[in-house]
């Protein structure tokens, strides 16, 4: 199998996570302590009842089958069950409340992370953070409360054991250090084999997800034999990890059962000896074993709590990393005037890079004039789309300033800044819901039907919407999957126009439309947004030559800016583009 690039994954793991921030997480939302305290108290009562039950079990095993014993045993069992139910219900309420609160907190945090932070992570990791990982938050608190009652139970049952036979109890307690050692070893083994297994599962999943989505490519090149072979190799890797895991878990089982069997061995050997010497009643092993069962039970409980805690660490670490990440405060900064914006956008020595070593824009100074159509052109990777994101404050520049007239966008309220912009990409996400929900997405209050229809008309979408049996109330499915690509794009454009932005940014917005639709929409947009600022990124020179102002980027530098005629004279890239798309750029050519 091919080597996989793991650097991305390991980089994320290295993010530091301290105990302090782990605990700080629990101070950010109220914890229903009273539920947990009550639950711990019930646990104590439960232990007391369990001790009483043990006495009845012993009597039954001695053949004392009186009605009172049977009834007493049955009643205690049922009462115990009821108590444990109450205890669990209380802690379940507690943990569900914690989960809900922690989940809301995390979701809010994720939504307010800067875009760069979001993009750096896999969406699937964020999703599982909110859905799965955060549910572990409550287990820490639950364990705390359970530990209280388990410690009590352990002490109480040891005492009972000791009361029955001190010597034998001492022998048993001597085993505890050995128990702990074995437990530690088991923990190490488990950790390692779980990790290996998890990694092998991941590798296999990655392999198959990559190869299944490449089905067409595989078929087109008739590479089935090779695919089968590689798949079998991936399956075999997983098999090896499974075998290793299986053997390791048996070693674990061996250690664990050694622990519990040691107690049995000690009881049988020394207990029988004591009975023979008359230091314990004949049926003493019966009594002792029954009490010992309780001791073992609480010991196991304590160890399980510890294991659960270490298990949650991994999940909570990721939640912690997310919670500690930077956050945007949408309403901090100066207010922008509510009136229609009439200022130029000025970039003043702006630099920006995703990776500090490879800056995308360097020291870029250019003005996007107000009220005009500005086109930005350049090759792949020249920083066109990045520039649009910088304008809306989605990315902060590494250095330099971006000004709306006099106001530095870094110091105005992000929510007000972004509300001034409309942003259309080549592929825009839609959300599940009706067509109307999507067009009015982000609008405050009710929007009259006429306004919705007007936006749809501008985006050349009214025709297909009206042809649908349910019109604007049609449900478009998850991500709009019930619509075609072109229809989705037209809805996204309508959604942007609905917001009536002061500045409209279009990044290859027409690339997925057929030419006719593209032309119609572009004409409508220009008419309806007359006098506002429109910035267009395009590879099709037809949309470019009509612009009032053209900016040519070349590897993150400004090559030239100006109107068509100026650029014909001084931008080789611009002239090259026109030539390659069949324009005549000879002397005095008019386009």
């Amino acid at each position: 199998m091919m080597k996989r690039n793991r650097t991305g994954a390991s980089k994320q793991k290295k993010v530091k996570f301290s105990m302090g921030s782990f605990l700080a997480f629990y101070t950010r939302f109220p914890i229903p302590w009273w539920l947990y305290i009550l639950s711990a108290l019930l646990g104590v009562v439960y232990t007391e009842l369990l001790m009483r039950t043990a006495a009845f079990t012993i009597r039954i095993n001695k053949g004392e089958l009186y009605n009172s014993v049977i009834i007493g045993y049955a009643l205690l069992t049922v009462l115990n069950a009821a108590l444990s139910m109450l205890q669990n219900v209380l802690s379940a309420y507690g943990s569900e409340k914690i989960t809900l609160r922690a989940r809301k907190l995390l979701w809010n945090k994720i939504l307010h992370m800067p875009l760069r932070e979001v993009e750096r992570r896999q969406p699937s990791a964020l999703i599982s953070g909110v859905v799965n990982d955060v549910a572990e938050a409550s287990s820490v608190i639950t364990m705390l409360s359970l530990t209280v009652s388990s410690v009590y139970g352990f002490g109480r049952s040891c005492l009972e054991l000791y009361r029955f036979n001190a010597t034998l109890t001492c022998y048993i307690l001597l085993l505890i250090p050995l128990n702990l050692l074995l437990f530690y070893v088991v923990g190490r083994i488990q950790h390692r084999s779980m990790r290996l297994r998890f990694e092998s599962l991941n590798t296999m999943t990655e392999f198959f997800s990559e190869h299944i989505s490449a089905a067409k490519h595989v078929k087109a090149h008739a590479m089935e034999d090779r695919e089968v072979e590689e798949g079998l190799r991936a399956i075999n890797e997983r098999y090896k990890a499974d075998i290793y895991y299986g053997i390791m878990s048996q070693v674990q089982v061996l250690f664990n059962s050694t622990c519990s069997n040691l107690g049995t061995v000690v009881t049988a050997l020394f207990g029988s000896d004591m009975i023979r010497r008359g230091r314990m009643p004949d049926t003493g092993i019966n009594d002792f074993s029954t009490y010992l069962t309780n001791v073992e039970r609480y010991k196991a409980e304590l160890l399980t709590h510890y294991q659960t805690l270490t298990g949650t660490q991994g999940a909570m670490r990721y939640v912690g990393v997310l919670m500690n990440g930077p956050q945007e405060v949408l309403d901090s900064g100066y207010d922008l005037p509510e009136t229609r914006e009439t200022a130029d956008i000025v970039l003043d020595h702006v630099s920006f890079g995703y990776d500090p070593e490879f800056p995308v824009l360097h020291d870029l100074s250019v003005t996007i004039p107000h009220g005009k159509i500005t086109a930005i052109i350049g090759n792949n990777g020249s920083g066109k789309s990045t520039l649009l994101k910088l304008l809306q404050g989605l990315y902060p520049p590494d250095s330099g300033r971006i000004l709306l007239g006099e106001a530095d966008i870094a110091s105005v309220k992000p929510e007000q800044l972004r509300a001034k912009f409309g942003y259309i990409l080549q592929n825009n996400p839609l959300l599940s819901g009706s067509i109307r929900d999507n067009i009015t997405y982000g609008m405050k209050g009710e929007v009259p039907q006429e306004a919705v229809a007007a936006a749809a008309r501008l985006a050349d979408a009214d025709e297909f919407i009206n042809a649908l049996p349910q019109g604007y109330d049609t449900d478009i499915g998850e991500g709009g999957k019930l619509l075609s690509g072109g229809q989705r794009q037209r809805l996204a454009i309508a959604r942007t126009l609905m917001r009536n932005p002061d500045y409209l940014l279009m990044d290859e917005a027409g690339a997925s439309l057929d030419h006719k639709s593209d032309t119609t929409i572009f004409r409508n947009v220009r008419e309806s947004l007359k006098g506002r600022t429109i910035v267009v990124v395009a590879h099709d020179m037809r949309s470019v030559v009509d612009a009032d102002y053209i900016i040519v980027l070349n590897h993150g530098d400004l090559e030239a800016a100006g109107a068509h005629e100026q650029l014909l004279a001084n931008s080789p890239t611009y002239r090259g583009y026109l030539e390659k798309q069949g324009y005549d750029v000879g002397e005095g050519a008019q386009v």
């Binding site: 001695k62 115990n80 059962s257 049988a268 009975i275 049926t283 092993i285 917001r499």
Partner: protein, 583 residues
């Protein structure tokens, strides 16, 4: 009528399931070993219970009771580990064998199969569904066998004390089962609700986490938060309800358990009182009876587990039932030559008819562009030429040969096809470029291919050169770079017929120009067919085919079509060649 349908289906799915197991070649010997080990452990368990009863009753002879007790206890522990290891081995082998047959099958299924199923779904066939089948075998089928034997052994032992005791115990046990079953049903329903609510939450979060750019640029963080919060509260409600049901079942089980103990004691008490049971026998009987009830209640769980796994087994076995493509029947497709002619081709996706009686000739030795509005069938046409879908009528010929006579594998290898997705696999660049090639490629040839698509500089700029890792699905490369490598890969293949589906769409203007001039140079005299919708790309064609709603609107040399066809003229307006004419 209905009933017979249900049984018919049930029969069908069982038949498929067992066929699947037969094909997967279960590790029968290991399974047998596991069963034998379990039987021995059960036998030892019976003895251990009796010895411990003796100990409880105060018979503490060292050699008569204590040592044998310890011996059996430790033996059972050791055997338990061995049996556990064998069990783990069995389930790993079952997983591996099932995955092998399943993957081999899936790879050989026709393209339409992939298009009708979600990739994520397919993935879980191989990962989770397979595991749930092995779990079913190891944790349901085998325990049913061994549990049955265990019950048999225990009952046999009790009947050796007194056969009437055994019979009366057998008579009262089923009461317990009914209670366990009812509670189990209740829990199932609520659990389902929790799962559904969780899926809703995942959906809501996923949709927004995946479109964070939209949320941020429209400043709708608050709205997104509320949408998520609502689902979180929904899940909270379901989880609480689930907890209540789960917890309420605790006392119900306890009552059932208490009743059971009373019954067991009442049954045994008479025998103990009249002396037909000794004290050790009584203790052993009591221990056995408790073991029996837990055995029987686990049988109730098996049914639920079986129902739960049915979905998985059904999905996997259904895939195994599908027909594969015949990759190797037919003659080899060497030295293809001549025009490609589609003659009276019919094709539809399910109900939706796309082509009806479509006839086109694509001239050999030329570059032909297929153009038309979206949904007109351009990509499908190329797919049909590559035989990715079977025709529903008519034929496709290359020269005088009907292409359906060629062996599928050999035919597809003879054509070069660059798909829209420009697929890359995790691994090195070299592995990706050489993928699917049957001949040796020299370093110079690699360089030449990369230079042709204008990406040699990029390769040179990496210290690892061709050994640079490209990440999962080529994630470390941009869309334009992936497309260039995909074209380079096709050129390395040196096909006589090259199919390109929007293969340069993500490249910038300079990139497109460079790649197309290379294609013209390297494919001179050979046949190139491509789908495109931008003016710059279309300008490279010698011949144009205009499709509209599955029919040929126009076909002919580029000059001719560009002047005569409205769709093309509009498309090329201001960007096309007429500009030159006017200027």
């Amino acid at each position: 009528m209905r009933l017979s349908e249900i049984f018919g289906n049930g029969y069908g799915s069982f038949r498929r399931f067992f066929l699947l197991l037969a094909k997967a070649k279960l590790p029968y010997l290991w399974l047998l070993g596991d069963i034998v080990a379990s039987v021995v452990i059960i036998r030892i368990g019976v003895s251990t219970t009796e010895y411990s009863a003796e100990l409880f009753a105060g018979n503490v002879g060292l050699t008569a009771v204590v040592l044998p007790f310890l011996f059996y206890t430790l033996l059972s522990m050791a055997l338990g580990c061995v049996s556990g290891a064998v069990g783990a081995l069995c389930s790993a082998r079952i997983d591996r064998n099932l995955r092998r047959v399943l993957w081999t099958k899936i790879v050989r299924l026709p393209l339409s199969f992939y298009e009708s199923s979600e990739p994520k779904e397919l993935l879980s066939r191989i990962t989770t569904d397979v595991s749930s089948i092995s779990t079913l075998i190891m944790q349901v089928f085998l325990p049913i066998l061994t549990g049955g034997y265990s019950a048999f052994a225990i009952l046999g032992r009790i009947s050796s004390y007194d056969s009437k005791l055994m019979l009366s115990l057998l008579a009262v046990l089923p009461v317990n089962l009914v209670i366990v079953f009812i509670v189990g049903r209740m829990r199932f329903g609520v659990n389902d609700l929790v799962n559904r609510r969780r899926a809703q939450l995942t959906g809501a979060v996923a949709e927004r986490a995946g479109s964070m750019m939209l949320v941020k640029s429209t400043g709708t963080e608050g709205k997104a938060f509320t949408a998520g919060e609502q689902k979180m509260k929904g899940l909270y409600g379901a989880a609480i309800a689930n907890n209540w049901v789960a917890q309420l079942s605790v006392p119900v089980y306890a009552i059932a358990g208490a009743l059971e103990v009373i019954v067991i004691i009442l049954v045994g008490r008479g025998f103990y009182a009249d002396g037909s049971l000794s004290l050790p026998q009584w203790i052993a009987y009591y221990g056995f009876a408790i073991q029996l009830t837990s055995l029987l209640s686990s049988y109730c769980g098996y049914w639920a587990a079986f129902k739960g796994a049915q979905g998985s087994t059904d999905r996997v076995s259904r895939i195994m039932d599908l027909a594969e493509e015949a990759a190797k029947t037919g003659r080899g497709a060497e030295n293809l030559s001549g025009d490609i002619r589609l003659e009276h081709v019919d094709f539809s996706f399910g109900e939706k008819e796309l082509f009806r009686d479509l006839s086109i000739t694509i001239p050999a030795g030329k570059i032909t562009a297929i153009v038309g509005p979206s949904g007109s069938g351009k990509t499908t046409l190329i797919n049909l030429i590559d035989r990715l879908y079977p025709l529903q009528g008519g034929s496709i010929r290359i020269g005088s040969d009907d292409v359906s006579e060629f062996a599928l594998q050999s035919y597809r290898r003879a054509l070069g096809y660059v798909t829209q997705e420009s697929v890359m696999y995790a691994g090195t660049l070299r592995e990706n470029l050489l993928q699917g090639l049957e001949r040796e490629i020299s370093e110079e040839e690699l360089d030449a291919a990369c230079a042709a698509v204008g990406i040699l500089d990029f390769v040179r700029s990496r210290p690892e050169g061709y050994d640079v890792l490209v990440g999962e699905a080529g994630a470390s490369l941009s869309g334009g770079q992936r497309q260039r490598f995909a074209v380079a890969r096709a050129l390395l293949k040196k096909p006589d017929y090259l199919l390109l589906d929007e293969a340069t769409a993500a490249m910038d203007i300079d990139g497109k120009a460079g790649v197309w001039s290379s294609i013209r140079r390297l494919m001179a005299g050979k046949t190139v067919i491509y789908v495109a919708h931008d003016a710059q790309t279309i300008a490279n064609a010698d011949y144009l085919v205009v499709l509209r709603s599955g029919a040929v609107e126009a076909a002919g040399s580029r000059e001719e079509i560009l002047t005569s066809n409205t769709y093309c003229r509009e498309m090329m307006e201001k960007g096309g060649e007429e500009q030159d004419d006017e200027a």
